[in-house]
Symmetry: C2
Subunit: 209 residues, 2 copies
């Protein structure tokens, strides 16, 4: 029985290399929840096999910039020559329909969402150690030592942003991290502020007996 009928906006974020994508993937392979993943919008060209509305919403640069001016992004960023963002209207529609919407975004984006949606749940995915974070960045590819150092420096700056989140979930194993996220979502729905209205409905006929 659900006292809280509204959908939750769940913002999953964390430093580069922490494995946010892997945790998110594991979460969506499970069937014991009703969460949906928020598809990002981008101006970059679709790659082979990518489907519009599934992998990304693919739009033109003009359309993206028009949406920015209309305030239609929860968050957005420009990487090299392309924009990436979370469409506010689409997320809002899903929340209104009672869906749980998961965003998996960079820490800079999460800070933008914090300002627009203080009611969202902010989960920081943390590495079990700085060494493990460094090792993951090393394992990622065949980049030069300089590139890896730059990424690690970036991750070191992101790692201290945990302070601005509601929860810290250590990605020690992907299973553990996904379990904790599910527990957080369940617990958030049971929070007083989210369910007091539904509860007051239940008890309003108490004088009738």
């Amino acid at each position: 029985m659900k006292l809280d009928k509204k959908g939750l906006l769940i913002v999953m974020s964390g430093p580069s290399g922490v494995g946010k994508g892997t945790v998110r993937k594991s979460l969506f392979e499970r069937t014991d929840h009703d969460m949906v993943f928020s598809v990002s919008m981008t101006t970059r060209a679709p790659r082979a096999g990518e489907v519009d509305g599934v992998d990304y919403y693919f739009v033109s640069k003009e359309e993206f910039e028009k949406r920015i001016q209309e305030g239609k992004f929860l968050e957005y960023a420009k990487f090299i020559d392309n924009y990436y963002g979370t469409p506010l209207d689409i997320v809002q529609e899903k929340l209104d329909a009672g869906e749980e919407v998961v965003l998996e975004i960079e820490v800079q984006g999460a800070m933008q969402v914090r300002k627009k949606c203080p009611d969202a749940v902010f989960i920081f995915i943390a590495p079990p150690s700085m060494k493990s974070l460094y090792d993951r960045l090393l394992l990622r590819g065949t980049e030069s030592a300089d590139v890896i150092k730059a990424r690690y420096d970036k991750a070191c700056k992101e790692v201290v942003m945990a302070d601005f989140y509601d929860y810290i979930v250590v990605n020690d194993t992907v299973e553990n991290a996904a379990d904790k996220i599910l527990a957080i979502v369940r617990a958030e729905h049971a929070k007083l502020a989210r369910c007091i209205d539904g509860y007051n409905e239940i008890i309003k006929d108490r004088k009738a007996k």
Copy 2:
């Protein structure tokens, strides 16, 4: 991996007849948690089969009143001629040892704990409907209509106390309620305020790389 090394004090409460005891029993039949139950102290005589330190700590009236004066109760109440209370020192020892301590107490007692332990987690067990609460009070025994009415009136007053809790968990099924309590405990440990110290330990060597 646990960032939060301290034990949680979990206060389970709710109106008379809501089934707190059944939920607590179900919780302690499960093995997927480390919670321990806080044994109450009482001045009433042990019944056949009751074991000191397991069912209750049985003490004399003098000892109980001495402990009250020394501030050694998290909460206590007097019913008819007997005292019942939660010994503060024993709970504190368990929390310090990192144990999760569950109190299952009346709403009046929970309000006392709120004042002494603002850091505890307060869970209100709610009925799925007022009718179900009334029916449970009816089913309890062979009491007269007057006694049942008095109990229901008391429950109606307790039901509005949910406002003072952190979470509301509906006892629609005992399994669901126990599941939600476990989720709340997991989520509470992941809360920023509870795990930021442990997290700062992890990231303090970030300059070393």
